[in-house]
Each structure stands twice: as C-alpha cells, then as structure tokens.
Amino acid sequence: MLLAREVLFFGGKGGVGKTTLASAFALLAAERGQRTLLVSTDPAHSTGDMLELSVGPEPREVLSSLWAMEIDPVQEADRYIADVKARIADTTPPRLMAEVERQIDIARVSPGAEEAALFERFTRIMEEAGARYDRLIFDTAPLGHTLRLLSLPEQMATWMSGLIGRRKKVNALGRMWRRVAGAAAGDGAPPHDRVLAALEQRKARFERARTVLTDAQRSAFVIVATPERLPLLEAEKAVGTLDRHGIPVGAVFLNRVLPDEAAGEFLERRREREARHLDQAAATFSGRTVHRIPLQETDVHGLAALRRIVASLPESERAGLS
C-alpha cells in the first residue's frame, strides 16, 4: 500500500493527471484520519483549482486532516537570495559588498536557480513535516526537472564536502601559521563560522532528505502516465533514472484508460490503439505495480469528482477506509 509510507512523490509528463492522483491520495489519507500535507511544486498551481479551495504558500487546513500548500518557484528563489545576502552581510568586507551582491544577483537569474530554491524549500518541508503531519504528498513538477532535483543531494554531498573540507583545512593552516608567526603575521581574519555552519546545515539537510528519498519503507515515487506514446516514454525514462539513483518507485498509474462502457466505432478504434500502448506498458513495467484509472465522463474538478477517482483506486490502496 502506497500510503504506508510517510512521503509520496507524484511525477509524470505534464497533463497526465499528477495533480488528480496526488490529490486523490491526499484525500484518501485524510479520510483515514492521517494528518496529511499536500504540497504542490507545480508552477501551474493546479492544486487549489482541483480542490476548488484557496491554497496559498503556507500550509492551510482545507478539509479535516488535510492541509495543502502551493510553492511558487519565483518567490522561493527571491527569498533564498535575500536570505543568502542577509547571512553574509556582516562578515563581508564593505569594499567587496557591491561585487558580492552583483555575483549573487547573477546567480539568481542563472538557469536552474528557481528549481534549486524549490528543492531547498522541499527539504525544509520534509524536516518540519515529521512532527506535524503523518503523511506528506508532493505533487511535483514534471519529471525531467524533478529528477535532476532529486539527484542533487548526491552531487552536492560530494562537491560540498570537498569545498568545506578544503576550507576547514585553509582555516586550520591559517591558525597554525598565526601560532608560529605570532602577531607579526598580521590580520588573520577569523574563520566565518556562521557562514560555514549554514553550509554544513544545508548539506546535512540535503543528506537527510536523500536518506528518506532512498528508503522504500519511508517514501516512494509514483509515476503517472496516460496510455499514449510520449507519456509512456517519459515514464519509462523516469523509472530508469529513479532506479539509477536508488529512489524507490512505488507504482505506475496509467490514467484515463478508456472504460469498457465507452462504445462506438470511433472509440473502438481508439481502444485498439490504446490496447497496444497498454501491452507495451505491461512489458516495460513488468515486475512493477501498475494500476489503471479509467477516463472519467467529466473533468476531474472539485471534491465530488475527486472522490470518484478515490473510488476507482485499487482495493489494495483503499484498505482500511470505512
């Protein structure tokens, strides 16, 4: 059962129904009485629209036991940059300040900045959620970006331990030199412990997030696709990448499968085409948990429609619901 885990991530090509399924699982968990936080990192902000409730940048209880929030990548990046500037303000020599700020502003507009800020927020939510919520559900941005995001702790741990280790060495050598040379060595700047501590904390937080992300007992990635060529290709690529990073894939959902009652010549032709994609998917994801969600008569919008999706989830996922 997917909801046995503390954290679920939903991924898939844009428009396949990630928000629908993430919201359905969040609703399912909440109706079971689990305090659940649903986090949308999708710049399209579709969660509030889906729930027909107003959802903002901070967690808000939208239903009994269900909290929701929507993170705006632009705001996150601006806030991150402001925090960095504040943190270094009193340790930066005034003569360097203008250039330091200029460089940081360049970093703000560099590719990937918003995604990186999003990930930083993401790890903080994971840390803070433990005490307040039983379940955490991320309705993530489309897969390409998300996967790069998830591989960051790995790259970061390597790179930063190199840099921080080196910096500690520099500080240690500096202290040694000052002891040997005494006051004559001049203005040995004190190590900027606060800045170092912030970096160490960030790295440690990323590593803890990674520990959760790679633990199949605690978290899982749910891949959503529609039975069409490109969404399935993207799902296959995603599963491969997640495997390479050791991130567990909990299930693959094939969404908007033509229901049996859909009839007519046109739909029969569609169904033939779809059958080929479903066969292909069965082969691609053999050995994995694959679920099908039928195409709905109407748009999935609002709680009543969402409850119909919950009802169409496999029995195994709905176990324990009264």
Binding site: S110, M156, R167
Partner: protein
C-alpha cells in the same frame, strides 16, 4: 606571505569555487553562494600574487 602549502590550498579552494567560470559545470554553485565573499577575496589575492595589478576581464571585479 603564508607558507607555500597554504597557498596551494587556497588556490585549490579558488579553483573549486570558480569551476563554473572556468567552464567546468558546478551543479551546486547555487547552494554555496555564501562563499562568494571568501572567493572574491581569494581571487583578489591570487591575481596580485600572479603579478596582475587588475583582475582579468570576465571574472570578479574585486578592485
């Protein structure tokens, strides 16, 4: 001047921090922005040590 070994350490540190400017992709530069004051100061000392009165074009405008 600090001992030669320390100088080498500092140059290594500078290289790590500058890798993206040198064209080696640095995937986590965004998460180490707090080191920029340090990097710019180190860069300043490096170009003086290399006998350049002013910083080379395209890098930090440290002086």
């Amino acid at each position: 001047m600090p001992p030669a070994r320390s100088t080498r350490q500092r140059d290594l540190f500078l290289l790590a921090g500058f890798s993206d400017l040198l064209g080696a992709p640095n995937p986590v530069a965004f998460y180490t922005l707090e080191l920029y004051p340090e990097l710019i100061e180190q860069f300043h000392q490096w170009h003086l040590r290399m006998g350049m009165e002013h910083p080379p074009d395209g890098g930090f405008r440290c002086c």
